[in-house]
C-alpha cells in the first residue's frame, strides 16, 4: 500500500523536473482544483463506512471506460480558440505554453463544472485509496478545455500533493516498507523523468491515444477487481 503511494510521489516529482522547466503545469489551475480534490478526498474517507468499495470501484471503472472513449474523439474547439469565461478570467486561470518553438495561449471554460468533477475525483480518491489522476486529466481536458499536455502536467502536480498528504500518514502507521519502496521509487523516478521530458516533444494526438488506452485498461482492471472481490 505504502509502496504504491511512493510510486505516485515518484511519478509526480520525477515528471515535475521537466514540467516545471517547460512551464506546462498551470499551478493556478492546479491549486484551485486541488481544493476541490482534497475536500472531496476527505469526504470520501468519511463515507467509506457507508458505501461498499467494490461497488464504487466498478462505477469508477465504468467512468474511466467512458472517459477513454470520449478522449479519443477529436474536440471541436481547439483549446487555443476557446473564448475565456468569467470565472476563468477572474481566477487568472488562462495561460500559455511552449509547443515546439511557438507559444500557445489557452483559455478555460466551464470552470464550476470542472471544480465539481474534481471534487468527485477527490471522493473516489478517498474512497478507493487511488490517485484519480486519470479522472483529473479528463476533467480538465474535456470539461474545462485545457490543452491536453497542460492537463497531464497539471494533474501530475496535483496528485503529488494528495499523495504527499497520504504518505505522511502511512509513514507514521508503518505502512511504508523500505525494501519494497526502494526499487519502486527508483524505477518510477527514472521513468517519470524520462516521461516528463518526452511530454514536450511528443505530438498531442499520440499522447491522447496512449492515455485513452491506459485509462481504458485501468477501467477494466477496476471493474474486474470490484466484481471479483479484490476490493
Amino acid at each position: 500500500m505504502g509502496a504504491s503511494l511512493v510510486s505516485v510521489l515518484a511519478t509526480s516529482s520525477g515528471a515535475a523536473v521537466a514540467h516545471a522547466k517547460s512551464g506546462l503545469s498551470n499551478y493556478r489551475i492546479g491549486m484551485f482544483l486541488e481544493i476541490a480534490a482534497t475536500v472531496g478526498a476527505l469526504a470520501g474517507t468519511l463515507i467509506t463506512a457507508f458505501v461498499s468499495p467494490a461497488f464504487v470501484a466498478v462505477v469508477f471503472g465504468l467512468v474511466l471506460l467512458y472517459s477513454a472513449y470520449v478522449s479519443t474523439i477529436r474536440r471541436n474547439t481547439k483549446s487555443e480558440n476557446t473564448r475565456p469565461t468569467g470565472f476563468a478570467n477572474f481566477l487568472c486561470l488562462n495561460g500559455e505554453y511552449m509547443s515546439g518553438q511557438e507559444v500557445k495561449h489557452y483559455s478555460l471554460s466551464s470552470v464550476p463544472a470542472g471544480f465539481f468533477v474534481m471534487t468527485i475525483a477527490g471522493v473516489f480518491s478517498g474512497l478507493l485509496g487511488i490517485g484519480s489522476g486519470a479522472l483529473k486529466v479528463v476533467g480538465m481536458d474535456r470539461i474545462m478545455k485545457v490543452p491536453f499536455k497542460v492537463s497531464t502536467a497539471t494533474s501530475n502536480f496535483m496528485i503529488g500533493i494528495t499523495a504527499a498528504a497520504g504518505a505522511g500518514v502511512y509513514l507514521h502507521k508503518g505502512y511504508i516498507d523500505p525494501g519494497l519502496s526502494m526499487p519502486v521509487m527508483l524505477g518510477v523516478l527514472a521513468g517519470s523523468v524520462l516521461g516528463g521530458r518526452l511530454l514536450t516533444k511528443v505530438k498531442t494526438e499520440n499522447i491522447r491515444i496512449v492515455f485513452a488506452v491506459a485509462i481504458g485498461l485501468i477501467g477494466l482492471e477496476m471493474i474486474y477487481k470490484g466484481m471479483f472481490g479484490k476490493f
Partner: protein, 134 residues
C-alpha cells in the same frame, strides 16, 4: 495605462523567475532523494543477499522507521533501511516544498486570491500529515 502594462510585465517576469527557481529546486531535491534511496538500496541488497522477503505477510515497520526523528537518527549510522526511508521522506517533502514555494511566488506577485488558495491547500496538507500523528 503605462503603469498597468509595466506592472503586468514585471509580474510576468517575477513569475517566470519564480518558476525557474522552483524548477531548479525540484530537480535538486529529486536528485538528492534519488541518490539517498539508491545508496540505501545498494546497502540493503548487499546486506540481505538472497533472502526472500516475506511480502505475503503484512507486518508493520519497526518503530524506528516510523517517525522522522527515528529515521534521522538511524540514517546517519548508515542503516540501509533508514537511509531509504530518509530518501522517501525527502520525496514526500518535494510536493510540500513546491506548494510552499508557490505560496511565496504568489505572494511576491501580489496575487492574493492564490495566496489564500495556496494557504488553504497547504493547511490541509499539513493537517493530514501532522494532525493524525496523535
Amino acid at each position: 495605462m503605462m503603469n498597468t502594462t509595466s506592472s503586468k510585465t514585471s509580474q510576468k517576469y517575477s513569475e517566470q523567475k519564480g518558476e525557474a527557481f522552483i524548477a531548479n529546486l525540484v530537480r535538486l531535491l529529486v536528485i538528492c532523494a534519488g541518490i539517498i534511496v539508491a545508496g540505501g538500496g545498494v546497502l540493503f541488497i548487499l546486506r540481505l543477499g538472497n533472502k526472500q522477503p516475506g511480502y505475503h505477510l503484512f507486518t508493520s515497520e519497526p518503530v524506528s522507521l516510523m517517525s522522522v526523528h527515528g529515521i534521522l537518527t538511524h540514517a546517519f549510522s548508515f542503516d540501509s533501511q533508514s537511509l531509504i526511508q530518509l530518501g522517501i521522506l525527502l520525496l514526500i517533502g518535494i510536493p510540500i516544498i513546491r506548494v510552499f514555494a508557490l505560496l511565496i511566488s504568489f505572494f511576491i506577485q501580489r496575487d492574493w486570491i492564490y495566496v489564500v488558495t495556496t494557504i488553504l491547500v497547504f493547511g490541509v496538507l499539513l493537517f493530514s500529515l501532522f494532525g493524525s500523528a496523535g
